[in-house]
Every structure is written in C-alpha cells, then in structure tokens.
Symmetry: C6
Subunit: 270 residues, 6 copies
C-alpha cells in the first residue's frame, strides 16, 4: 500500500453528523496543534467514536480505528513479517501506518488490550514521537501530522483492567456522558425522522433506565439503542414491540428489571 492510497482509503469523505455538547471541539483542536495525545472517556454508545470521526474530518486527517481486545498483541498494532514468494515481507500494522503517513490513530477501548499493546505506544507519546520497530530494526520518526487518540470506559475500570499510571500520565483527557435530553431528542429526530414528542418520550424511558445503572443494569440505555427503537417505530412497528426489542431484551434477563422497564413502556406508550 503506497502513501497516496493510504491517505485516500482512510480519509473521511463526508462530514459526519456531530452535535457538539460543550467546548470539546476547541480543546481537541488545541491538543492537536501541540500534537498532545488525547484520551476520551465515557459510557458505551455516547458518541465517543463519532466525535473522533468528526474531528478527523474537521482537521482533514485520515483516521485509523483499532477495536482493542484482550488477545491483541503489540504485533497487531506495529506490524509483522509475512512470508512471500521472495521470502519474508514486512507488513505495517495500523499504528505504524498512521505514524508513517500522518493519520490520527484511534485505539478504541484501549484497556481491553494486552499490556504490550499499551507500552508500545509510549515512545510515540512523549517528546520523542518515535516508534521503534524492534522486529524490523527500524526506528520511525512520526509524521508531523500524526496524533494518537484512545478511548476507554471508566465503568469497566477495575484493579485487573486499568491503564498503568505510566500510560495515563502521557495523555490529555476528555470525559463524555450521554447528551442532555434536548440534544439527544435532536439526534433521534435527525437520524430516524420520528417526531420530537415521540423522541422525548423515548428519552424519558432511557433516563429511567439510566438510573438503574449499578442497581441491576451494567450500563444505561445508550443513544445508539434509542436510535434503534426510533427507527423501528419510524418503520411502523408498535412502540411496545420496538422498545422491548431495542431497549429491554438486549440489556437484561433479570425478571424484576424487565418488569420495571415493561411497566415504564406501558405507561409511556400504552
């Protein structure tokens, strides 16, 4: 893959829909100017990835996203030798591609990755901005446009899975939460076409469920699930069925919690 191809494939073509909530755009822009590494915290489905996509579009930079997982090794980020007809051939991993060609590299849910994946980013996140490819014997000096962005969900934070202090101390950070009711209603209407009153009723249901977080639910109902429910309703499904299928059944099998949620649905849409 040559440089030109690379830039083309990972560039965001159309402006993603993003509804700002505070001063996050100005602050991210300032961090990018200094190329400071950025960490974005917040619950599932609150718009973290959408924000990064929007900033990549706004800053005109290609975006490489990596969904981290506990079986991911440093080689999955940095690259590895592959066997070819002429012997071994080096394949850059997504982090190396981003550092070499000047993209924003977004490591989604970084705490899920194995430790070698988090340590490998260290030399890219201080004054050196270097990535040593030990297995290839090459020392990459990051492209001037390169920036590293990571996300993580503090709700998962535990003694077993947390970033090491020596990693945390390399990032500036934002904390996200679900949007306020009026912003969220604007998002639902914009994405599915349902009318604002219906959107606000769905959000009322979500707010009830979010109060159950830690009391039987691991996480509240995300904006994404609200979009699912609204789109099923926009296609003519009954509110009761759409809500059960998008907002209840995915989240829990606990009979008490289910009864509470079903009761709220009946009250709102019955």
């Amino acid at each position: 893959m040559n440089h030109g191809d690379f830039l083309k494939d990972y560039r965001i073509k159309d402006e993603p829909y993003y509804r700002p909530q505070a001063e996050e755009i100005a602050l991210f822009t300032a961090a990018y100017e200094r190329r400071l590494p950025v960490m974005i915290k917040g619950p599932t489905g609150c718009g973290k990835s959408r924000f990064v996509e929007y900033m990549a579009w706004r800053l005109g930079r290609p975006l490489l996203t990596v969904a981290c997982n506990e079986d991911m090794t440093a080689a999955d980020l940095v690259g590895r030798w592959l066997l070819d007809s002429d012997g071994t051939r080096w394949q850059d991993g997504p982090l190396t591609q981003a550092a070499r060609h000047g993209a924003i590299c977004y490591l989604d849910e970084i705490v899920e990755a194995r430790q070698d994946s988090t340590v490998v980013i260290h030399p890219l996140t201080d004054h050196r901005r270097q990535l040593p490819l030990d297995k290839k014997g090459e020392l990459i000096q990051a492209h001037p446009d390169f920036q590293l962005v990571i996300s993580y969900n503090p709700g998962y934070q535990s003694l077993v899975k947390d970033l090491k202090p020596s990693t945390k101390q390399r990032f500036t950070a934002f904390r996200f939460d679900y949007p306020s009711a009026d912003v969220e209603a604007e998002i639902l209407a914009r994405e599915t076409g349902i009318d604002p009153g219906l959107a606000l009723r769905l959000i009322g249901l979500a707010e009830s469920a979010r109060r159950l977080k830690g009391h039987g639910l691991d996480e509240g109902i995300s904006t994404r699930l609200l979009v699912y429910a609204a789109s099923l309703m926009a296609d003519g499904m009954a509110a009761k069925h759409a809500c059960r299928m998008a907002l209840v059944d995915p989240l829990t099998d606990d009979d008490d919690i289910r009864a509470t949620l079903e009761h709220a649905i009946d009250a709102l849409f019955g």
Copy 2:
C-alpha cells in the same frame, strides 16, 4: 471462491419447516430492512437456529453459521494468511465472506467465543458497517445485504461468560422459549409422524422435566429430544426404552432425578 459460488453454496434451497410463535417474523423483517444487528436468546433446542435459517430463506439471503467456542480467535472469523506456492495468500473467514458478499452471518452461542471475536464485530454493528482487516491492511465496507445475527443462552449467563455491555448495546434482541403444548405437538407430529395423542403425552413428560430445571437439571427437555423419542417410537421401539434413551440418559446421572423421570414414564406409558 468467487462471488457467484459463494452465493450458491450458502443459499437455503428449500423452505425450512418453521412454526411461528408470535410476531417474530415481522419484527425480524423490520430489523433486516434497517440492517439492525439481531440477538436471539433462548434455551437449548428451542428452535433459534431453525428460525434464523427460515428467515434467511424468506429474505432470500445466503446464511453463514459459525458455532462459537472458547478456542475461537478473531482470525477464525476474519481470515488469515496461508502459505501458497506463490507465497502467502489471504483466506477470508466466514464473517468477512458474509460482509463482502452480502450474506447473513449467524454467530451461534457467541458468549462461548473469546473476547477478541466479539470485539471484532463492533465496527460492523454501528453506522460505519466496516470490517477492518488489520492483518491484510484492507478496510471492508459491508455489502448492502449483509446482516449480523447472534444467539445466546441466558441460562449459561455468568459473571465469567457474558457479553460486554459495549457489545450488548449494539443489538436488537428476541427472547425465545419452548413452544406452547399445541404448537409443540404439531411439530412432533409433522416431523416424525406419530399420532397427536402420543405427542401430547410426550410433551406432558417434557413439561414435568422442565419444572426440574434448576432443581437437579441444568436444562429442561428440548423439543429436539422429544423429536428423538418420537422417532424411535415411530420405528417401533417400546415407549419406555425410547424415553429412557432420548429423554433420561442424555440428561442426568443423578439417581433421584432418574427415579422421578422413570416414574413419570411408567405413569404415562406403563
């Protein structure tokens, strides 16, 4: 394997026998129209896989089924490099095949899989509908016909093996249970040819056993095992032997539970 071959091999040729229980067909169809990811929950042998097969036939889409297991890695879903006479050659995994060619991909018992297998589906399940092949350096935009369906059995749900909230929040969901007695009798008669009265007696036995779930049995007797017993009886085996072989011996070695079940068999068929 080229595109045409692919479509042919995995397309369901004949209408599978499926007996609807509620509005699941209309709701699945609506979810497919919006290409929302679908999760199907329910106990073993209640017809989850059969329903997915039926919907694939009804929607005219090829179906790729993957039986998930705890040794399955992301590469088993996404693909890997193989060594060929001309060096390495990329082999698409079933998830990649489905995303590339526009099939329904059905991940059966997803909670059994390792976490990297569940995280790899994330970018396919939000607005991006993308599958990054990090090891190949390719970013696949899912075919417009592609849909992701997963199943899982809440009875197995535990702290150790459960979907992460960030995965759950990407799916709409259905909850299945064993069919009602008359529906189940219709299924037994249709599949094995036994007469309805005998079918209802077998179902009566199953309902007794299902009440033992959590009291010595991990799960109740499934519709599948009832079909086994009915087919042995249809071939002339004594009811007592057929029931022991299909409904008792596979499920338990506990002497008390066995005595309870044998007693019920004697009462019904003795």
Copy 3:
C-alpha cells in the same frame, strides 16, 4: 487417501467378540436407522469401545476412533492446512473423513476434549448434518451413512469437566455397567481359556474391590484387568502373583486398601 482406501482401512474385518447384556443392539440399530447421535456412558473397561466396534461390524460401516484429551483442538478433529511442495494442502481430520466418506466416528471420553472440539460437532448432530470447514471455506454435507458416537464416564463428571447442556441435548444415550457375574465369567473363559470356577473366584475378588469404589479406590477392578490376571494364571503364574500384578499394584498404593485386597486374595487362592 482416496474414498476406496478409506473405506478399506477402517472397516472391521472379523466379527469382534461381544456378549450382549440387554436390548442395546436393537436400540443402537434403531438409532442408526434414524442416524441419531449416540452417547455411551459407563465406567472404565466395561466394554463401551468393544460394543461400538461390534455395532460398526454388524452395521457394515467403517469405524474411526478418536481418544479425546485435554490438549485436543477442533483442528485435530476437523483438519488443517499442511505445507506441501506446491504450497498448502488440506488434510481432513478424522471427523471430516468420517462425515465425508460415511463412517461411524467414535469420540472416546469426549469430556476430556477442549470445548471447541465439542462445539464443532453441533451442526453434525441436528437436522443440518453439516460440517463447516471454516478454515478451508467448505461446507460438508454429511454422507448418508455417517453417524456420530461419543462415550463418557460419569464417574469423572464434575463441575469443571462436564458436557454442556447444549451438547447433551443432541444425543440419545445408553448407560453401561460391569457385566453380571455369569456373563463376566463367560467372557474370562472365552478370552483366556481358564476354567469357569477359577473365573468366578476372580470375579468374586473384583466384586469385593468394586464395593471399595469411593472408599479408597477411584474405580473398581475392570473386566479388562480380570482378563489380565486370568491370562497370567493361564500361563502358569501363581494366582497370588498374578492377582497382585494385575489387580492390586495397578490400582493403589494405599497400605490399608492393599492389605484388604491381599487378604481377599489369600482367602480365595491361598
């Protein structure tokens, strides 16, 4: 290995000696007619494998036996890519061979295998009768003659090592135990040539030891060990030496249990 070779190598040439105990032959035959998967339960050395071998001979089907173990992976059953002079070459595993060519595949002590090995058999054990070779991109429709048989020993059953309910619910099952005294005596005489009176004295010893199961012995003395002792005696070794070598020393190093067994030997043969 072509189809013809395959059939030849794994076909049982001579009728194995098998002494029926109840109606297991008729029931197994009925299950085979419907191609229902069969599970055989029972203690070590009671004749489970011999029964399967006999049925394969009687039904005229080739038999592939796999001794399962905790390091066995799905690839050991299904097959894998091997490197050849022309690149990679696919090698069918025993399960794939059996499904492709129409043999009985016997997975001995299935609970010892890793979970991926048990999940991989699922699509072969329901109405689909399919085996997806994900790594090869091939979907095998099982040969009409194919049947799956598994064995397991309930004495080992524990929370850690047990079949998942979703696996159990795919099998019909038989429970075996040690033969009755007269049947066992007939077996000893037939296999080693010792006279029936001596055989019954050995079986008396075995029955004493079987009562110690769970009280210092993990399992009772199997029919196989009785055959060992009888054959050493048939070759002229003293009963005392033959019994100690075949029935005591293999089973235990506990001094109390040893004294009990030695005492019984002295009483019977002293």
Copy 4:
C-alpha cells in the same frame, strides 16, 4: 543493517534539554568509565528517560531504548531467525545490536518484562560481558563501548513484579524524584514559554496532588503533565479547561478526588 548505519541512526543529534538536580552526571560518567551497569529508579514522568538520553549524547554513544512489557520475550531482546528467500536469516534484537556495535542499551521499566528477558542480561552484566546467542550458536563479546542501563518505578514494586536479587546485585543505582519547585518552574518556562509566576502556580497544584499519592491517586502529577497543561494555556485555553484536561481527567474518575482537585484549580486560577 551495517555497523555504520547503525551508529548513525541511533546517535542523538542535538543536545537534549536536561536540568541537572545533583551529582548524577559525574556519577553516571564514572560508572560508564568502568562500564558498570546502571539502574535508574523513580516515579513516572520525572525525567529518567530524558537523563539517559542526555548522558548518551554527552558520552557520544548511540542509544537503543526498549519499552519493556509483560509479553516481551528474550527473543525480542536478543534476536530471532526470520525466513528469507534463501532460508532462515538471523535478525539481531536491540540488545544484541547494542552489544555488538557499542551502544548504550536502555531497558525502560524492566520489571514489566518476563523473567527470561531479565535473565538474558546476566552474562552482559558481570566480568564476562558476553551475550550467548543460544539459538544461533554464537557467543558475542560485548563491544568495549557497550553499557546497559535499566529503569524501574519502585511505586509499582510488589511481590509479584520485582527484580530478582540475582539481577539487582548486578547494577549500580540512582534514585530520582520530581524536581524541586524552582527547577520544575524553570523546566516549564523553558519548554512552553509560559511566565514563571504561572508556572509556579501550576507546580503548587501539582504539589497538592502529589500529597494525594496513596490516598486515592496511584501517582502524583508528573512534570510531563504540567508541561501539557502549560502548553495548552500558552496556546490560549482557559486555565480551568487546560488543568482539567491535562491534570485531572487523565488521572482519576473518583468523584471525591476530582472535587478536591477542581477546588484547588478554582482557588489558584478562578
């Protein structure tokens, strides 16, 4: 990579900015004269890596840095065989490169590495100064200029992750801490251009936070994070926003600690 290339790529071109704190430069120089191995201890972001970089520049030696991690094996340090068009080819790891060509090898956060990585350095750290490449069958006598430097953070020290006594006994050691307030202010002004008064206010905030170490914070605010905050302020961001983004959000999600820190920010900059 030939010798000349190697020396060029890893040589520090420009004098790194380093503000000495005590007699560490003279002592490191003396240790280097005798080629004694050196261990540098201290908290995250206090300047350990910067000091090693400065000493490499001052001594005119190339510097190879390895960020250790728990998945790193001895082969990652020493080297491995790679497959080439002419068969296998040996690739020196960074430790071997440094020993062969006469560089300083800096193993950052050595306790994170697996034990084989720490044992492999033993023969390089006593009178032998040898590195056996067992897998290659070569015995390297270290270049006269080679020196080994390691770092570790005693705050992480635990029974599980600590250097073995037989490793510790091979090193001389330095203990670093955060710079004194006036030195740290000088660093902030020099690196970001903010005025000294503002720098001292930021350091006052850091000193408050450092007192929370062990009382809700794993580590205090590092000099590096202070540089981040100062640079955002130098670019026009409000102090409140810059401090939250650089000094609060990266470190903690604990509400009490956050309130304490936000309160201190208000008091200093409100």
Copy 5:
C-alpha cells in the same frame, strides 16, 4: 531412518549389570509373552530404569526410553510434520517408532507428562494394539514384538498429578523398593570396587537417612548416590568429604537435617 538401522541403534549391546530381588524377571517375561502393558513403581534411583534395560536385553528387543515432562505433548511421542525441500515430511516420534518396528517403549515418569500424552497410549494398550496417527491419516497396527512399559514414583502421587483410572486400568504393575542391605552392598562393591565392609557402613548411613523421609527429606538416599559416594572414596577422597558431597549437600539445605546426617557420618567414619 529405515527399519534395520532402527533395530540396531536402540538394541542393548552388552548385558547390563542387574541384581534380581524377587520374581520380577519371570513375571515380566510372562507379561511380555501376552504383550500386557507394564507399569513399574518405586522411589528415585532404586533401579527401575536398569531393570527395564536388563529385560530389553534379555528379551532381545530394542529399547526406546522417553523421559516424560510436563511440557511434553502427544506430538513429541507420536510424531509431527517437518518442512523439507519437497514440502512437509512426517517424522515418527519414539512411540510410533517402537510400535512400527517392534521395540519396547519405556515412558519414564509418565505422570509428569501432559494428559494428551497419556491418552494417546490407550489404543495401544487394549485388544486393538493400534496407534492412530490422526495428523497423518494413518492407522498403525503395532508390530507383534512391541510392548509398552511405564514407570512412576508413588512418592510424588498427588491429586494434581496422578494417572487417570482409565489409564491405570490398562496396565499390570510391579512395585520396587531400595534393595536389601546385602544386595545393595553387593551392588556397591561391584560398581566401584570398594570393600564390602565400607559398603555396609555407607548403607547403614543410607538407612538412617531413609528413615527421615517425610520428616524433612523428600526422599531417602538412593542407591545411585551411594555409588557416587563409594566411587569418590575409591578414588581417595576422605569419607567425610565424599559423604557430604554425595549424600548430604545434594539432598537438603535444612540445618537440622544436615546436622543429623553430619553427625551420623562422623560416627561411622570419624
């Protein structure tokens, strides 16, 4: 390696020195006549391996010995595919070699091996006498001369590391112990040339130490260590030094046990 070479390399050329203790030679010979699998139990260094070597010589069979260990896999016993200039080539493991060419295969300390290594021997140890090479697709019928012998040390027996009942029930067994004093003295004199009186004094020391087994010593002093001590004394070392070096320092660092043993040495040789 062709058949002839194989027979030659592993055949015992000269009669090993072996001093019988009871009827073990006749019993082993009878077991070999019936090709019954044999298990030899006993403490470290009591002569188990020497006995097997002697029987192989006496029966005129080649002997393959495998020292089992916890990292040994079934492939280490059975064989594996190797890459060759013409692609992959199958390499028989020692168990396969023995079964194919008709040798005695001796698995030393079998309980140390992983479970897959022990299960793989099952079909070789019942009436089938087969070894399925699943990875090669070959079913080996054991050579008529083949016999399997295993050893294990009951002193190590624990819940974690013990043979499974289904493995034990496949073997006849011998229990060995240290030789009686007069036999052991004969062995020492024969192997090192020291005079019988000195040999008996060494054995007296060993017997004191053997009584400490389980009271500070894991095992008693073996015949092998007595041979070491006697040979050092035969070469002129002082008894005190030879005994400490061969009988005390290898076994323990416990000061009390050391004092007891040193005291016994002084009493006997002082």
Copy 6:
C-alpha cells in the same frame, strides 16, 4: 559449526582469577575424573560462576554456560529444526553441543527453568550418559570429556520452585558462601586496586548488611557489589556516594533499611 571451531570458541584462554576457599578444587577434580554431575549451591554473587570458569580452564575443557529462565524450553537446550534453503536443518542446542563435542555444560540457576529442561538432562546424568534427540530421531552418546554442572541458590528455594528429588539424586554437590573477610579483602584489592584498609571497611559494611538478610533484605551485599563500590572509590568518587550507588540503592527502597545502611556508611566513612 564444526568440531574444531566449537572447541576453540568456548575454551577459556587466560587463567581466570580465582581465590580457593577450601578443598573445592580437589573434590571437583575427583568428580570430573568419574564424570559425576556437579551441583553448586550458594547466594548471588559469591563466585559460583567464577569457580566453574576456573575449573574449566584448569581441566582444559571448553565451557558452555546457559542462564536458565522460566521461559526456557527443552528445545532451547537440546536444539530444534530451522528452515533452510534446502528445507529444515537441525541446530544443536548448547547441551547437545557440549555432549557431542566434550565440553563442560554449566546450567546457571537451573531451578528457574521449566521442568522439561530439567528432565531432559536425566539420561545424561546416570550410567547411560545419553541424550535422546527425540525430535531428530538421534541418540547421542556423550563425548568422554563431557560433564554437566548446575548451580542454584537455596535462598530462592520454595515449594513452587525446587528441583525434583529425582533430579537432585543425580548430582554431587558443593555449598558456597561469601568468602571470609581476609579472603574477600584480598579479592577487592586485587580487582580494583584499593588499599586493604579501605577494603576491610567496605567488608565491615557488607557484613552488617548481610545480617539484615531475611529482616528486610532478600539477600546480603555480594562480593560483586563490593567490587563495584571499590572501583568507583578507586576512580575518585566520594565513599558516601559510591556506597549509596553500589550498596544501598540497588538493593532496597525500604526507608528503614536505607536509614540503617546510610547510618553505617556515615559511621565508617563520614
């Protein structure tokens, strides 16, 4: 690597400096005459490796040293197949090289190695003196000059990491400790050139610290660290700085222990 090269590379060219402490030279020589395996026990940095190096020089034998670690496998000792332009090629490991060509093989800190590494040495340490290369199908008869030497540190001895009795019973053994004060002073003066009075003061400090072993220090100050301190002082560093850098900072971060040691330094050199 041919035989001649091998002998040359690993032969000790110059007499290593070694200061005998008791009769260890005569006893090692006697053990070597009989080719008895030798185990050397003692704390870190007391001169174990130096003694082995000296004996190899004195006996005129090449020396192969392997620093054992918990990730080391039997293949690292014995050898493995490598891929070459003509297919696979066997590479002898260090143990095989030593056994084949007649060197002394020194396995340093053997308890750190995985069990397969320790079991693989068994057949080399009894009357057989053989090394079976199972993976290659070769049985090596050890060269007449070959000897095996291992070291281990009883201070690390634990239930988890200890040699198995069946391994211990194959070795003669020496126990080393730190040298007496006058011998240690002679070593310091000889190695660094400091005057004997200063050397004795350093040793006084070490003896204080050695009494803290088990009371806050894992091990006492080794002779090696004393040589470090003495050499820094010989180069003009202040005693206070040299002692802190060589004798305090490498060993501990415990404030109490540090205060005790600093106090002792002040008293001796203040």
